[in-house]
Amino acid sequence: MSQNLLGTARCIFKRDLILAGRKPADVATPLAFFIIVTSLFPLGVGPEPDVLSKLAPGVLWVAALLASMLSLGRMFAGDHADGTLEQLALSPHPLTPLVFTKILAHWATSGLLLVVLSPLLAMQLNLPTHAMGTLVVTLLLGTPVLSLLGSVGAALTLGVRGGGVLLSLLVLPLYTPVLIFGAGAVTASASGLDTKAYFSLLGAFLLLALAFAPWATAAALRISLD
């Protein structure tokens, strides 16, 4: 491989986006899940607008979190099956930045779309309009953290039997801080409170995850490829 690291990373990013575009159903399934789960809540708790607007921040965040988790399976599975992952591990470049690129591409085809979809579902759940911006910003800060933390779990469960359910057991406990502050910010904003502290904390989680998760994922991938 004669390309430099940045060129290789750009190549991987483009490739992953093209592959996602060729299989739109894989991209759409978690989104459909997001829509269905949020639509089930009014059926379960009743259509009263007051109740729904009170539940909306939690419901939207939990649904987005589960949808993002469901999409984790395809982050490395295809590349593991056809041997691309071995080639990446064998490349002269360090594995960590390459893995980071893959996580970024995965987020762009899962988490980012959840963010775009969320205001529509928020209207459905009668979330106050002034909290809509907070919802989008918290999801924008929070879903990359979910992808980054989830990538460790996805790498560890690669090729393991019962991988899907196991993956949820591994990553859901780690998602709790993001859920607490993400949903907390939207609730605070809906009742007219200041949300600066929540944004700072979510930003801090994002920076921490950016610094450590790709590294742990690369280590986990090397173990799985062993």
Partner: protein, 252 residues
């Protein structure tokens, strides 16, 4: 010292230590429970119900300590490739999970007389619950991977990611809890404050040491089992099997 890093020598050493550790653990449990249940006076507010603290608090402390041991063992196994450290991590997980469960159950039973309900989303109980999920994830991951080397290394990475996250999870839950609930509910920290009477403090300390030694006793027993299972193709394990009539009967 290095001699005992080999599974064979460690197996023999653990076998010699277990009866002594077990005996001391038993004596401490008897002393701690006697002092805690008979000698210590009833609490002026909580009556006798506070006595569950002598089980609850050591369980909660140990549940976190065992996770640290597990992650530490995982790190040593990952970096220096020491089989014994991997076995320590694997053997610690079910003990830690049981202690976490014990802390959860006793906490919930204690909650009934003091808070009037079995479960409150108290910060400490909630983070114990998440710790329990983390243990379950570790055990499930190791159980799902057949190759012992890969299983140990995957578990180690997960335990280390967990260790980084535990403080974050704990403080998030504490923050969340203060937002959602009035702080008037007595947290366990206030009960175990430094103002505690010596007659209540002594049994608590004795019980903590007892739980600590209990962990090491069970750890050694489990590690011996783990060693036998992983080294079953070696000559010295075959020797043990030949010398033990009960085992020989089932495995000709």
């Amino acid at each position: 010292m290095y001699k005992y890093a080999s599974p064979k020598n460690f197996y023999a050493l653990a076998g010699r230590l277990i009866p002594w550790l077990g005996a001391v653990t038993l004596l401490l449990f008897i002393a701690g429970l006697y002092l805690g249940l008979y000698v210590a006076p009833p609490d002026y507010q909580q009556g006798d119900s506070y006595r569950i603290m002598f089980i609850h608090v050591p369980s909660a402390w140990m549940s976190m300590f065992v996770y640290m041991m597990m992650a530490g063992g995982g790190l040593v196994g990952l970096v220096w490739n020491i089989k014994l450290a991997d076995m320590l991590a694997t053997a610690s997980a079910p003990i830690g999970a049981s202690l976490t469960l014990s802390a959860l159950v006793t906490g919930s039973l204690w909650g009934r007389p003091t808070w009037g309900t079995y479960w409150v989303w108290d910060a400490r109980l909630t983070s114990e619950l998440i710790l329990f999920f983390l243990y379950m994830g570790f055990i499930a991951l190791q159980a799902a991977i057949d190759d012992p080397r890969r299983s140990a290394r995957a578990g180690a990475v997960l335990a280390l990611v967990g260790v980084v996250n535990i403080p974050i999870i704990h403080f998030s839950v504490v923050w969340w809890n203060t937002l959602h609930q009035p702080a008037s509910i007595g947290s366990l920290g206030k009960i175990v404050s430094p103002s505690i009477y010596p007659s209540m403090l002594h049994p608590l300390l004795i019980m903590s040491v007892a739980f600590f030694l209990f962990y090491f006793t069970v750890l050694l027993i489990r590690m011996r089992g783990e060693i036998l299972a992983r080294e079953r193709h070696t000559g010295w394990v075959a020797e043990i099997v030949r010398a033990t009539p009960e085992i020989r009967g089932t495995h000709p």
